[in-house]
């Protein structure tokens, strides 16, 4: 088991900058999800940590040992890192037991010990008695569990998950999420979990690193990401947040301040160092918006989408047609396209002034 330090890592592919000055400090035994839209560099990060790609700048330290960096580049086969691949990458020409026992065979573990450890690993993922099967004769979930067993049998210091649920159907995903959580609890291994699915990341991770165009946008706990996004990208990326222009009217007091948004004055959460300014941006979510009889912001409905038990309303402020708003309206209330209504902002978060990522 070991912690992982990624220090100022930069990686170019020809003219394309895949990662730019990314730093992450992952504690021993921590479960970290790396989250971002496709093309944000998360797979590159994983391949750098595994050693499949070489970095251009910075260093990667696993368990206190420099693996990639100035002068050092430990090849993947010597990093003692486990990977659970997106498409499992089970060897079709080997049985389940041979797949799981491969790394032990490479390490010249004797036959008896090897068989025992393979058996144990298969038991841990509830696949006792599947040793003689071929991967082709397993279901998707079973293959995933074999991949997990193959990874844990070598007792790696660090386990990398590369979008492991992307190829599974919805029902299986929930079951495998539980499996991964249990796996982490049981082994206490440090885990880096690559995904583009926020719900997955939120459910599993101790902390989430959000990547955007090769830069680290924020590295924090799921709750902090949701409640206190560090910048506009995170604010709009996580849970469909709306980023609105606002004036901060007063400095922070007890974690909140007075703000004017689209003409409406309200009290929002903010950082303790927030000061009065006119160019602020705030983050509000659908849940923070209430339809009111009077006051609030005048809006016009663009589209109403029935969602069962209620509707998602897409609208814009009458004064500012360029801003998109959305909120949920429970039945039996209805708002048709073109209708006008008034919205009050109950709460929200003042996005801090631009600075370095993370905090």
């Amino acid at each position: 088991m070991a912690g992982l330090k990624i220090n100022n890592v930069t990686k170019h592919f020809n003219d394309f900058t895949a990662l730019s000055d990314v730093s992450l400090d992952v504690a021993d035994g921590e479960f970290v999800a790396v989250l971002g839209p496709s093309g944000c560099g998360k797979t590159t990060l994983l391949r750098l940590v595994a050693g499949f790609e070489q970095l251009d700048k910075g260093e990667i330290v696993i368990g206190g040992k420099v693996m990639s960096g100035a002068g050092a580049n430990v090849p993947p086969e010597n990093r003692r890192v486990g990977i659970v691949f997106q498409n499992y990458a089970l060897w079709p020409h080997m049985t389940v037991a041979e797949n799981v026992g491969y790394s032990l065979k490479v390490a010249k573990v004797d036959r008896a010990a090897r068989e025992k450890r393979v058996e144990e690993a298969l038991a841990l993922v509830n696949l006792q008695g599947f040793g003689e099967r071929r991967p082709a004769n397993l279901s998707g979930g079973q293959r995933q569990r074999v991949a997990l067993a193959r990874c844990l049998v070598a007792a790696p210091s660090l386990v990398l998950f590369d979008e492991p649920l992307a190829n599974l159907d919805v029902h299986l995903r929930a079951a495998m999420e539980d499996e991964f959580a249990a796996f982490h609890k049981r082994t206490g291994t440090t885990i880096i979990y690559i995904t583009h699915d926020q719900a997955e990341a939120m459910a599993l991770a101790d902390r989430i690193a959000v990547l955007d165009h090769g830069r680290l946008a924020q590295f924090a706990t799921p709750r902090t990401l949701y409640e206190e996004p560090a910048n506009e990208m995170v604010a709009s990326f996580i849970a469909g947040g709306m980023v609105l222009p606002a004036d901060v009217l007063s400095g922070a007091r007890d974690g909140s301040c007075n703000v004017r948004i689209l003409g409406q004055e309200t009290v929002l959460r903010c950082r303790p160092d927030e000061v009065a300014r006119s160019d602020a941006k705030v983050c509000v979510r659908a849940d923070d918006l209430d339809v009111v009889e009077s006051g609030g912001i005048a809006i016009r409905v663009k589209r109403s989408i029935y969602r069962g038990g209620g509707s998602r309303i897409e609208a814009f402020p009458v004064e500012r047609p360029d801003i998109d708003l959305h909120f949920d309206l429970p039945d039996p209330a209805r708002l048709e396209e073109g209708a006008e209504a008034r919205l009050a902002i109950r709460t929200g978060w003042v996005i801090p002034r631009a600075e370095g990522a993370g905090h």
Binding site: E77, Q86, V106
Partner: protein, 566 residues
Amino acid sequence: MSNAKRHQGHDAALIAVVAVVVAALSILPMFRLGMEIIAPQGRFSTSALQSALSSSSTWIATWHSLQVGIGGTLLAVLLGTSVALLVSLTDIRLRSAFVLLFVAPLLIAPQVTALAWLQLFGPASPFLKLIGLAPPLGSRNPLYSTEGIILLLGVQYGPLVFLIVRAGLRKLPRELVEAGLSSGAGKWTVLRTIILPLMTPSIIGATALAFVSCVGNFGIPAFLGIPANYLVLPTLIYQRLAGAGPSVLSEVAVLSMLIGIIAMAGILAQDYTARRRDYRIVSTSMPAAPFALGCRRVAVEATMWLLILVMLVLPLLGLLLTALVPAYGVPLNLKTATSGNFKFILFEHGAASRAFANSIGLSLAAAIFAVVLAVPLGYLITWRERWWTKFLNLSAELPYALPGVVLAIASLLLFLKPVPVIGLQIYNTIWIILYAYLARFLVLALRPTITGLHQIDRALEEAAQVAGAGLMRRLRTIIFPLVAPATLAGGVLIFMTAFSELTVSALLWASGSETIGVVIFSFEQGGDSSYAAAISVLVVAITFILMLTTNIFARYLPSGVLPWRD
């Protein structure tokens, strides 16, 4: 970090070994050939160039090469493309059986094809005698002519064109055809305005390949042209070398360069034409639904099977009947039929039985070597892509892309004198043929390996890497088992091709190192057609047995690896 260093050492060692072997097999002989043309016998001079280029026989042979090259190519393209269109786009029945038989001529050595057709149409033809149509003895075989050579080249390489165009048609997305049909276009209009234009790159590529093959072919013009004193460049080279020996090497080096240039011109013309328009097909999906031929289906099917009858069955029948005839011109019936020819070549004639052993040994060695080298080489080319891996691929392709005569002359030049430093002398031994075979056929195992690797998820190797396996172990336990079916199929293809190879061995053999191809050629030149036919029958039988045996394992192979399997 000693462990890490060791692994990186393995990497570097593998790359170095593979690169050195490929260079020794490809770049070295071509370089030697180039040197000979600029500086014959080590001295800078243009005398060889002048004497070769001022000889009228050179230009006559060049003209003949172009004549049969272009004629054969046109016939092959016409034949191959129309059959490919019929097989791919219509609802004819028994498709895979037809493809198997239609492609067979490609796997039968050209000299065997030539021999078979000669036996079918000659005045001594047992077949024509059987049906009472034989021309009088002593009259000239109609195949000893330009038209004869062109006809047989077309038959030999029509299947080659067929395979390439068929592969192209398989990739044709059915939406494009359906979009055309739903726009109101009839079948013929769709064929003319959509399918054929999209197939242009395949057809052009196939044309270039057929042209190179026709120009470089030795067996057919040797059997059909030499008796009529109609020489093309490869047969001219053979005659000069056979007549005057190594003293004319510098001159024939120039001749082989001429063929090389003609072949290259074909490839470059293809490259140029293909680049002028955008033929890219965006999506690949299900193949288009076949066009129903309706009431014409039976007629089309009958025509296609008639084609098989004429192209394959009758010539092979002619070959078999000749092999059973006791002596030239004797009419064949149940009383005269004999197995004596087979006994003679297998047990009584020293060179013939030696040739069987030699050819089996040579083709096995070439196949095994190619299989062993193709996996690491293919691995470097596909999964370790660097700027220089492209050159590795090109180098491996070169000895096969150029006509066999070119490689044979280059090998002769390379090994005429003992190898410097180690003093190894392989000229006039079987080893020089082996060297040329290794160089020439490597790519036949490399291509399917590359196709196979492209279809395998690289993560399978990476998973082994994170499990701690070094490069050698990964190659052995993961990569080789995964691509083995494709690579081994390439090995079988090499065995079949090398088994009855003639072009290279005709120039490199010596007494004791005869190959089957050489023995067939010698018997035919000496007028012993029955012996030549007997050997050919055995060769064809072995080829068919190998084809059918490999077919059993076809479901483990990526599609397109076995050319004869549809």
